[in-house]
Symmetry: C2
Subunit: 165 residues, 2 copies
DNA sequence: ATATATGCAAAGGGTTTGCACTCCC
DNA sequence: GGGAGTGCAAACCCTTTGCATATAT
C-alpha cells in the first residue's frame, strides 16, 4: 500500500505535474492489477467525482511514458490493461476462459530475460512474453477443453472474444 | 514455392471448401511474409479482380481457425499481420523505426519454447514472444536512439505510431 | 505568467455484423 | 439442393485529435 503523499512525491520526482486525476489514477492502478482503461476511469470517478475519459487516457499515457506504469495488450481488439511498473521483469498468463490475467516470474529472472538467439543485428529493447491457455478453474468447470491441443504452442489461435461472466 | 494445385489440395485436406479467394489468399500469404490485411486484400484483387474486404477477413479467419495461417498482432491498434503456419515455433522481432518484422528462431527451439516457471496451475497453449527494438538499418540512419535504454527490457514503451516511410 | 492538464465533442481506423445472393460439394 | 462463402453497407469499440478552459509550478 502506498500513501497518497508518496504517490505525489513519486510524480513530482519523476518530473510530472501533480494533479488529482494523476494521483488517483496511480493509486487505482497500484491497487487493482491489470485493470482495463474504463475500469480505471470508473474507479477514479468514484473517488474524485467527474473526470473525463480523455483525461484518463491522457494520464495513462503520461504515466506510461514516464515509466511509472506498464501497459499490457492482451488482444489486438481488447482494451489495454495497466499495471504498476515494478521493474521485476515478469510476464503474463491470460486465460482464454475467464479472461483473467496472472503474473508469472520471468523464466530467466533477469533482463533481458530472453535474447533473440545469437548474433542478430537487432537491438532488443523490450521482450514481451504472453502465455495463453486455461486456468485451473476454467479447466475444471467448462467445455473449453475441446481446443486443447490440435495446434502446437506458439501458434496463434483464432481471435477470441469472451468476456468475463 | 507452392503450386496452385497443392494449395487447393491443402484446403480440401483441411476440410475447407475450395474457393478462388481462399486459394489466392493462401498463395499471397505464403509469398509475402507478415503482410497486413489490406496488403493481402490488394494482392488478392490484383490476381482475381474484385474481392470484397469482408471476404478477405472471412478467409483469413477461416484459414487461421484451421491452423493454416498464423495471425500476428504487433501493436494493439495496428492492423493484424499474417504468415503461413510453418509449425517451426519461431518468434518475431519488430523494429520501432521502420516497422519491419523479422523472424527469429525460438530461444529454446522446442515447443513449448517457454514454460511459465514451475508448478503453476495453468495450462499453457500458446507462448507469444515479441521482441521490440531497432534494426541495424534504423540504428545507423536515424535519431531513434534517444530512447535506447532508460527502461529495462520487458517494460512496455509508450505506444508508438510510426508508419513505414 | 506560462506551459501543461483537463473537458467536451467528434473523428479515426481496423474489424465485425446482418442479410441477400452466389457458389462449392 | 442445401449449406457455406461472398458482397454490400452499416455498426462497433477503443482510442486519438482539436480546440477552449482551468490548473500547477
Amino acid at each position: 500500500m502506498t500513501t497518497d503523499a508518496e504517490l505525489r512525491e513519486l510524480l513530482r520526482h519523476t518530473g510530472l505535474r501533480v494533479t488529482a486525476p494523476r494521483v488517483t489514477t496511480l493509486a487505482v492502478v497500484s491497487e487493482r492489477h491489470h485493470a482495463e482503461t474504463d475500469e480505471i476511469a470508473e474507479a477514479v470517478r468514484e473517488r474524485l467525482g467527474s473526470v473525463s475519459t480523455q483525461a484518463i487516457y491522457g494520464v495513462l499515457h503520461a504515466l506510461t511514458a514516464a515509466g511509472l506504469v506498464r501497459r499490457l495488450e492482451t488482444g489486438a481488439r481488447d482494451a489495454a490493461r495497466y499495471e504498476i511498473q515494478r521493474h521485476d521483469n515478469h510476464h503474463h498468463l491470460v486465460c482464454r476462459g475467464c479472461g483473467r490475467i496472472e503474473d508469472v516470474p520471468c523464466v530467466r529472472g533477469q533482463s533481458p530475460c530472453l535474447e533473440p538467439s545469437d548474433a542478430l543485428d537487432f537491438t532488443v529493447e523490450v521482450a514481451e512474453v504472453l502465455f495463453r491457455g486455461v486456468c485451473s478453474e476454467c479447466r475444471a468447470t467448462s467445455v473449453l477443453m475441446q481446443t486443447s491441443s490440435p495446434m502446437p504452442p506458439s501458434s496463434n489461435q483464432p481471435p477470441l472474444k469472451e468476456k468475463k461472466p
